[in-house]
Subunit: 212 residues, 3 copies
């Protein structure tokens, strides 16, 4: 990922740390784990989406296994969550904001990396979304929950918007730091509006009776 501009790289690192922290906190809240479990799930949340993307585009070993600072930041986030978990719950909003930064940047970087590896526009959008939501999905599977991203909240949809904007900018040859930040910002704003107003993606028609 070292081909990204420095500011985007910095946001990517912030997002990795935030995903590690938030992923580990979510895991601690949901089930009984030991230190191995908390750290593993925090790191899977932070790094899992990128690993799946790299396997799918044929970039192995995945970037995570080569750039030690992603690894270190995810580990740091998870260890902080392990040590300070019961105190961090008070910081819910700042953590949600940082998580939205990660979601946004991961979607942009994931889509642009897929294009760089020669994939088409549709698959690149999908890979941007997978980068952004894949790690949290693995974590939810591991703790025995239907992944949140499949059930409620606006989470995959803002990532898809950012990935689509990224692929469009690359196609129009206007992709650069400005376009990347703009795409990420759109995702961030949609995600935070969703959090603020409790928005959900549409449910299947006629499913109201099954809602409890």
């Amino acid at each position: 990922m070292s081909t990204q501009p420095p500011l985007l790289l910095a946001l990517d690192l912030v997002g990795t740390f935030a995903f590690g922290l938030n992923g580990a906190l979510t895991a601690i809240r949901a089930t009984r784990l030991d230190v191995v479990g908390v750290v593993t799930l925090g790191m899977m949340t932070a790094l899992g989406g990128g690993v799946i993307r790299d396997i799918l585009i044929g970039s192995v070993p995945p970037a995570t296994f080569q750039d030690w600072y992603y690894f270190a930041l995810a580990l740091a986030g998870a260890l902080i969550a392990f040590a300070l978990g019961h105190w961090l719950h008070r910081l819910e909003m700042p953590i949600t904001v940082l998580d939205a930064v990660g979601l946004s940047v991961f979607a942009v970087i994931g889509a642009s990396k897929a294009i760089e590896y020669g994939l088409g526009a549709g698959p690149a959008v999908l890979l941007g979304v997978i980068t952004a939501v894949g790690g949290g999905t693995i974590r939810d599977l591991m703790i025995g929950q239907v992944p949140t991203v499949l059930r409620s909240e606006l989470y995959a949809i803002p990532a898809m918007v950012a990935a689509t904007l990224t692929v469009a900018a690359l196609g129009l040859e206007i992709y650069g730091l400005g376009a990347a930040l703009a795409a990420a910002a759109v995702c961030f704003v949609i995600r935070m509006l969703g959090v603020r107003f409790g928005l959900n993606a549409p449910r299947p028609p006629g499913s109201a009776a099954q809602r409890r």
Copy 2:
């Protein structure tokens, strides 16, 4: 997969659509999902087996990320299930039949692609089965259920028969459209007999007491 004869390709596309539709319907019935979840699970059911196969044989990016019509058919099936889910329950038998078509063709194509990539007979049979049942297995994991294929019904076994016949026909150098359709037809018949007569694969001896 474009090296397959046109008729087999057509059946493969029918199967992809049927898996997308059936996978999404199964997911809707089992748990509460939004549009992201229904579409994701339908597409995972339709495309997941082939993606796992392609990763394992080293054919990346997977075919699904290159041939947009698989993607489009899986998406169409999942969207139809999302929109018409509560009405489609009346069409259970036609959907089961189409699903069995998909199972049969996926097993044949999966096994022949593995041989094409230089794998041995045993692994090729296994990869045929993985192609056929892998997508449904991922879906069941995602909705928090022990995969149906591991518990009951004749589902993996007909796929294994078809994959074995395919590998044998390739070994005898008699593989072609006729052999492929014959192998798929055997799988289809075993699967439909299993559905008709409620057949199950054997359970561990002495497990009767645990059966409720």
Copy 3:
């Protein structure tokens, strides 16, 4: 894996058989499965960690799909568990011992294979652990349980010690049969002490109230 010394290879094969047997037994105890499920889960337990490692280091098709004897031993273990499951419960301690042999050897071989494929020290340790615990993690996911390795017992930690010793020995250029066996022996002893004294990895501070 044929570049390993013969004694290590023999232990690797013992471990594969033990993982197949133990994985299938664990699956039978936990949920209702048919023969497809028992055999699949036994084989996933035995071979899953190595397959994940090989995908991540770019060694595809995975070794398991090329060396038929791993496949055969895992299958044999799973079939014995299927046929004799209710009788094998009396042999719990011998099976736990064999399982610890597998854990130890898988960690050593996994880490050394990662170094052989050019990965750095940190990723190689991680890949050793993944090789050792990945199969059991997949099995637990499939049967709807939060993976044991994330919750309790000393299981990942001894594997991490063995992988670290292996990577250190390779770095010091003293790796050979002696060093490999020593690293595996340390893992084995820690694991068996953990079993004997019921040791667990630390839990998050303040989580006592959630412990039942």
